[in-house]
């Protein structure tokens, strides 16, 4: 009996030691981070900021946000940013209601949302693109490595007007390749997503005649192969012989990636192409001087641009009642759009870094935050 109790106590003690050891290690890790040389140029403010800000919105930005927060904390160990990936719409709603200090959104704010947000902030609104990512059309087709597709073909494949890989219409733009007599299985997202929104937006603009649905974050066609999340789509395409889907280009390794017709040539997705597309985008005029809402030129004919691109925004007030909070938002967003921040997101989430031209355009807006 005694030994039993003794051993139990010993075990508790051991657990205690292990726990405190872990805490100690964690502590060490944190202090190491703070001791690291202050290399990252955090845009505007050089003085360390502290406190906590909360953001909510697009799940697209979630992985990149982890990289950004880690980067911010390198120079500002007492600063903390919480991000709730509750979805673009929810993020904007919470921001307008004043529940969060900034929002992430896969689509720009609508005019009435900007009006409401301005009233809540009692200041201008800052809305800048922070996360740009090319969306690849991925396929799994034995023996076909260099598939080329036109916007109209993509639309017809995904709305099931074309059902066989050896359809004459596909063969016509893939001269010299042997296309198998196999059924096409188009795979779409089963959950709501910014990827779907941008993909359907592209189809609705670049293939107007063949795609009659508007751009939307849930897939408009019922009864096709649907999978959860980017990983689900990639998994389904990998598993299905003759399957085709759309997903973040960074996740497309190991699958065929279709080249998309742009003008007279065919373009593969790339970070540069996505960044270039954003550079060529027209900026919306309403909303105020700090609102940079872009309409991506989906029908571009410049082969240096890749038209199926997702751009995600960060939305904040330009003036915060709490100056400390304003300084933190500014420092965070400055880091996010800085070359270091964009590179961190690129290596962690596979996004396309913003081009210098776009950065030059949006930096004044971020610097205006106080």
């Amino acid at each position: 009996m005694k030994t039993v109790r003794h051993s139990a106590r010993a075990r508790i003690a051991a657990v205690g030691i292990a726990t405190s050891g872990a805490l100690l290690l964690a502590g060490c890790g944190a202090s190491n981070e703070t001791a690291a040389p202050a290399g990252g140029g955090s845009g505007g403010s050089s003085a360390a900021v502290s406190g906590t800000i909360n953001g909510a919105g697009a799940s697209t930005q979630q992985v990149a946000t982890q990289a950004w927060v880690a980067g911010l904390q390198t120079n500002n160990p007492d600063a903390n940013v919480n991000y709730d990936p509750s979805g673009s719409g929810a993020g904007r709603t919470q921001f307008i209601a004043g529940g969060v200090q900034y929002a992430g959104s896969d689509s720009a704010m609508k005019a009435d949302e900007i009006t409401q947000a301005k009233a809540k902030c009692a200041s201008d609104i800052v809305e800048v693109p922070v996360y740009v990512s090319p969306i690849a059309v991925v396929y799994n087709l034995q023996g076909v490595t260099d598939l080329q597709l036109t916007p109209s073909l993509i639309a017809k494949i995904f709305n099931k007007k074309i059902t066989k890989w050896n359809d004459p219409a596909i063969a016509a733009v893939n001269a010299g390749k042997t296309l198998p007599d196999k059924a096409i299985t188009p795979v779409n997202r089963s959950d709501k997503s910014g990827t779907t929104a941008n993909f359907t937006d592209y189809l609705s603009k670049a293939a107007k005649a063949d795609w009659t649905y508007p751009g939307a974050d849930s897939w408009p066609i019922q009864g096709s192969e649907a999978a959860q999340g980017t990983s689900g789509v990639i998994g389904a395409v990998k598993a299905g012989d003759g399957a085709i889907g759309y997903a973040d280009e960074s996740q497309a390794k190991g699958l065929g990636i279709a080249k998309i017709q742009v003008g007279t040539t065919y373009v593969a997705p790339s970070a540069e192409g996505a960044a270039k597309l954003l550079e060529a985008a027209t900026r919306g005029t309403d909303g105020g001087q700090y609102v940079f809402s872009y309409t991506l030129p989906r029908t571009t004919t410049d082969p240096s641009q890749y038209p199926i691109t997702l751009s995600s925004y960060m939305i904040a007030c330009s003036k915060y009642a709490d100056a400390k909070q304003g300084a933190l938002v500014k420092a965070y967003m400055s880091y996010v759009i800085s070359p270091e921040g964009q590179q961190a997101a690129a290596s962690k989430a596979g996004s396309a870094p913003l081009s210098d031209a776009v950065r030059a355009a949006i930096t004044p807006a971020v610097n205006a935050i106080s």
Binding site: G89, T93, S190, D191, E225, A226, Q228, G232, A239, D241
Partner: protein, 301 residues
Amino acid sequence: MQQPGDRIFAASARGAGILILVVLAGVAAFLVIQAIPALVANPADLPGGKNIAVYVAPFVFGTVVSSAIALIIATPLAIAVALFITHYAPRRLAQGLGYLIDLLAAVPSIVFGLWGLAVLAPAMLGLSTWLNTYLGWIPLFAGPVSVTGRTMLVVGVTLAVMILPIITAVSREVFLQTPKLHEEAALALGATRWEMIRMSVLPFGRSGIISGAMLGLGRALGETMAVAIILSGSSIITFNLISSGNSSSIAANIALNFPDSTGVAVNTLIASGLVLFVITLLVNSLARYIINRRREFSGAN
């Protein structure tokens, strides 16, 4: 004359009983209150743009079909396993098997989901193709066969595996309680072992089997993650079990669409949750009713 201990125990037991009711009522109230905005909303504002019944119907259908497949597969199998453990297997083996099955019940559903997606789905491609080739005239197997295997049939089989341990465990417990005298009497009258089981064990255990099956059905109806990651589901009603287009289930639809929903779309999802709540309530009431009707000569009360 009551001791203080008696009174304390009685009160705390009563409190626990009331607490259950309060929690249940709280959940029901939450669902109803949150669902009302969707029920009274203008149909054009709802996801899909039609009225709430049209929105929920495919998911109700998918939920019922997947659970039905699971139950059809799992129940006979579970009875067979339970009979083997209680009446055929050597005692040592029976004990081990019993533990193993209880262990199976503790496997998290997401693990079953991943297994269904990565192993079962590709493995059942052959069967699906075979069904389509030879039984394609039955609407269930009309095809075209999904190339990924993420179909209603695979979901049904996965759910069957998930609910098998529950049904087996309950059936086994009931079979063990069959009065020894009945069994021995049957054997003494010259019955073979199978006849003895048919005459004494199965009638005695019938309500136990039913309650086990209903417990399993409850789990299958509410199963979320496994269905969400395996099934290629959308908002359609189809009897076709082996093609890419399948009716999604209520729980899976909520899990998939809740994260990016706002406003009345959230209320719509909660309204579909209310429907699921009502379905499970009905199923359980039905099970209770069946068990109560066969109260006499039964091991489950």
